[in-house]
């Protein structure tokens, strides 16, 4: 290959990568046209690069490629620095050992290091901590886990987790916003969006207490939930059907006569494509149904068919719902 061809190949790859971006200006396209027309070699090189990219689409089902894609998704889950992603990948690798070989887990048990876990939008992940505690991380969740010789502590930064606490002499607690949830062998759920935190108990007993900015304490019975925010006290209420509320851990969302506004808010958490209501009155519509987490298409289909609503893709990241 001559030097000119090599340059053409490089430039062709640059151009193709540029033209795949969503912000290509008309001026750039003109410049590309000039480059392409400048020599046969340029146009050939471009067609070849584009052809290879097209060809590579056929690798989408290749097991090695699928595995590499999955690995990349975990390692680069987003939410700021990639170091967090690497931590998550490392920690996830350690947890696999934990889940497979019972002998191996002590290796990780008393290191006292903090592991950070993160899920991407639309992603859910099941994990087992080294003490045997089972976690389900919901969409767009960030969590720090620290297990040392004296305590087991999780810090929920954002999102939702379902926790099935393993029996262990060390106390187990979840810090979220202003509050701390202390557990006595049980299954519960903690959800955090900004400063608003909700704790729901499935079985056993938990104690919720607030630190800074006005104390307060509550002990929950199964089926109860506690809410608190940036200020004020703890509000305890009945959570309703436990099975429905925890359905998300099985990948479904169960709604019974709930506001459409609430349903959309919930579903939007699982997607980078956001559904927007064309007018506020729509939010008050009552809807029921069981939806697969992340299956926006079926939901929209159901709303079109069952509630005679119409949908329109208004931008790459937004779908408008109207009457």
């Amino acid at each position: 290959m001559s030097r000119t061809d090599d340059i053409a190949r490089r430039r062709a790859a640059d151009w193709f990568a540029r033209l795949l971006a969503s912000d290509v200006s008309e001026r750039e396209r003109e410049a590309f046209g000039r480059w392409c027309a400048a020599s046969e070699a340029n146009a050939d090189a471009y067609a070849a690069i584009a052809g290879d990219h097209d060809f590579a689409r056929r690798l989408a089902d290749d097991p090695a490629i699928v595995a590499a894609t999955q690995k990349a998704r975990i390692a680069y889950a987003g939410h700021g620095r990639s170091a967090v992603g690497r931590w998550a990948a490392l920690a996830a690798a350690a947890l696999v050992v934990v889940a497979i070989g019972a002998g191996g887990w002590r290796l990780y048990r008393d290191t006292g290091s903090t592991a950070t876990f993160a899920t991407a939008v639309g992603e859910q992940r099941n994990m087992v901590l080294s003490d045997g505690t089972r976690l389900v991380l919901d969409t767009a969740t960030r969590l720090d886990a620290r297990l040392d010789g004296n305590a087991r502590e999780l810090v929920l930064r954002e999102g939702r987790i379902d926790i099935d606490v393993a029996r262990d002499p060390r106390p187990f607690s979840v810090v979220s916003g202003r509050g701390v949830v202390r557990d006595v062998g049980t299954r519960f759920e903690v959800e955090r969006h900004g400063e608003d935190v909700r704790v729901m108990l499935m079985s056993g007993a938990v104690n919720v207490s607030l630190g800074a900015g006005g104390g307060g304490e509550a002990t929950l019975a199964p089926g109860q939930q506690a809410r608190f925010g940036a200020d004020g006290g703890i509000v305890v209420a009945e959570a309703g059907a436990i099975a429905d509320a925890a359905a998300w851990t099985q990948g479904t969302l169960v709604f019974k006569q709930r506001r459409l506004g609430d349903l959309i808010a919930e579903v939007n958490r699982y997607s980078t494509v956001q559904i927007r209501l064309a007018d506020d009155s729509l939010a008050e519509l009552r809807v029921s149904g069981v939806f697969r987490v992340g299956d926006q298409a079926s939901l929209l289909e159901a709303l079109r068919a069952g509630w005679s609503l119409s949908t329109k893709q208004t931008s790459e990241h937004e779908i408008e719902l109207s009457r």
Partner: protein, 178 residues
């Protein structure tokens, strides 16, 4: 790009794309020395071939694809004019390998696929992640940038690097087959 996009939404978008890109493509073809009275035909054929990709590739990728298709259409026509008697069907280079390819074609495809796979797996980790997120998951540059914690410009650079590696794997530099 979400794969659930309803067909009619995509169809609408494609129509808009054709309207917007028509004049640009015509100018591009003019530059490529396509005769003025052939420009409309070539443009039409290019869009027709692009239509096959409408539901397979995210709209962001249509522009890059369209140019490639246009180049191929121009090449096919030139070849036809040179070699084939008028009216004979062209031996066009297909944009995608047809499903009913011969066994020989199939075997060489498998080999090429294996080479492409090895090229991708051999990329540096972040570059590989960027390429796979785009090619397999269909994510846009901004979304990939967010996940990897890098700029969209950096995403573009990784894409370019990966594309070159794929090309080198298919046709190693130094063994020019043309």
């Amino acid at each position: 790009m979400p794969r659930f996009l309803a067909r009619e939404d995509n169809a609408e978008r494609f129509e808009r794309f054709v309207r917007e890109c028509g004049p640009l493509l015509a100018r591009f073809l003019g530059r490529m020395r396509v005769r003025e009275d052939d420009v409309q035909d070539v443009a039409q054929e290019s869009f027709a071939r692009l239509l096959r990709y409408r539901d397979q590739e995210p709209p962001d990728a249509w522009t890059a694809l369209l140019y490639r298709i246009a180049i191929n259409v121009v090449r096919d026509r030139a070849r036809r004019e040179r070699h084939a008697p008028v009216g004979e069907p062209s031996a066009a280079v297909p944009e995608a390998v047809s499903p009913d390819a011969s066994p020989e074609q199939h075997a060489s495809d498998l080999e090429a696929l294996a080479r492409a796979r090895d090229a991708i797996l051999g990329l540096p980790p972040r570059c590989r992640a960027v390429y796979l997120m785009h090619r397999v998951e269909g994510l846009s540059y901004p979304e990939i940038a967010r996940r990897c914690g890098i700029s969209t410009k950096a995403v573009e650079k990784h894409m370019s690097h990966a594309l070159r590696a794929l090309r080198d794997a298919r046709e190693p530099p130094g063994t020019d087959s043309r």
